[in-house]
């Protein structure tokens, strides 16, 4: 699929997502389609799982620290139904690929160079993470990544995984 087709699809889906979000849907997972190395990914299709959405960029220093942690969390809780989606917001996706070479991810990485998903989630700082429950509601949000709060994030995830 060419880049342009992708762009059109993103724009179309974004408009759609915007319409739907105003129509009294209690769902925080947008219908946005995101590009991943494994193909397209729609966040709303992840409903039913606990989703950890992380917004990151190659130039964001704390993001470097969050990646090893997310690798670990993915390994620990993926089998219990946790889905980590790290959405990259670099304008130049190549910079993100270089970052991934230094900080490899074993969870899902998606690319959103136009920042549509970040707008949807009203991202306030980099990195930002959103923990979303099985019903698609935002359960917790964090701006920045603090090593000291590692265990807090993990506890939140564990609690949410334990909730049907």
């Amino acid at each position: 699929m060419t880049y342009r087709t992708w762009l059109y699809r993103l724009i179309f889906v974004a408009c759609l997502g915007g319409l739907l979000s105003t129509s009294a849907s209690a769902d925080d997972l947008p219908k946005l389609s995101l590009q991943t190395p494994q193909g397209g990914l729609r966040l709303n299709e992840l409903r039913g799982q606990v989703v950890y959405v992380d917004f990151w960029a190659s130039w964001c220093v704390p993001c470097r620290k969050s990646f090893p942690w997310m690798n670990q969390i993915h390994n620990r809780y993926n089998k219990d139904g946790l889905k980590i989606v790290a959405i990259n917001l670099d304008k130049d996706t190549n910079l993100a690929r270089k970052f991934l070479a230094d900080y490899p991810a074993n969870f899902t990485v998606a690319f959103d160079p136009d920042g549509l998903s970040a707008q949807h989630f009203k991202v306030q700082g980099m990195p930002s993470s959103y923990l979303i429950d099985r019903q698609g509601k935002i359960h917790a949000r964090h701006i920045g990544f603090k090593e000291a709060d590692d265990s807090v994030y993990e506890t939140e995830i564990k609690q949410l995984l334990a909730t049907p």
Binding site: A57, W59, D90, M126
Partner: protein
């Protein structure tokens, strides 16, 4: 002194408004260029420290760019 201050204030405000022509909020994820070292207020801390010391020893003025800094007996 009194006549100089407002003029410089004027320059600074002008500088601000010039850029403000195209002003719209920059989203947190659009800080990519600003995050580069070369876009920092002081891209090289050692250059800045050496410059500050050099000009402090050769000229009568000091300060402006930041607070702090070590004293020396060179002026």
């Amino acid at each position: 002194m009194s006549s100089r201050v407002p003029r410089v204030l004027g320059i600074s405000i002008l500088l601000g408004t010039l850029s403000a022509c195209s002003f719209q909020p920059v989203q947190p994820w659009e800080h990519d260029l600003l995050a580069q070292k070369k876009m920092q207020l002081q891209p090289s801390a050692v250059d800045a420290a050496l410059d500050e010391h050099t000009y402090f020893s050769k000229e009568a003025s000091r300060g402006g760019a930041g607070a702090g800094g070590g004293g020396c007996g060179c002026n």
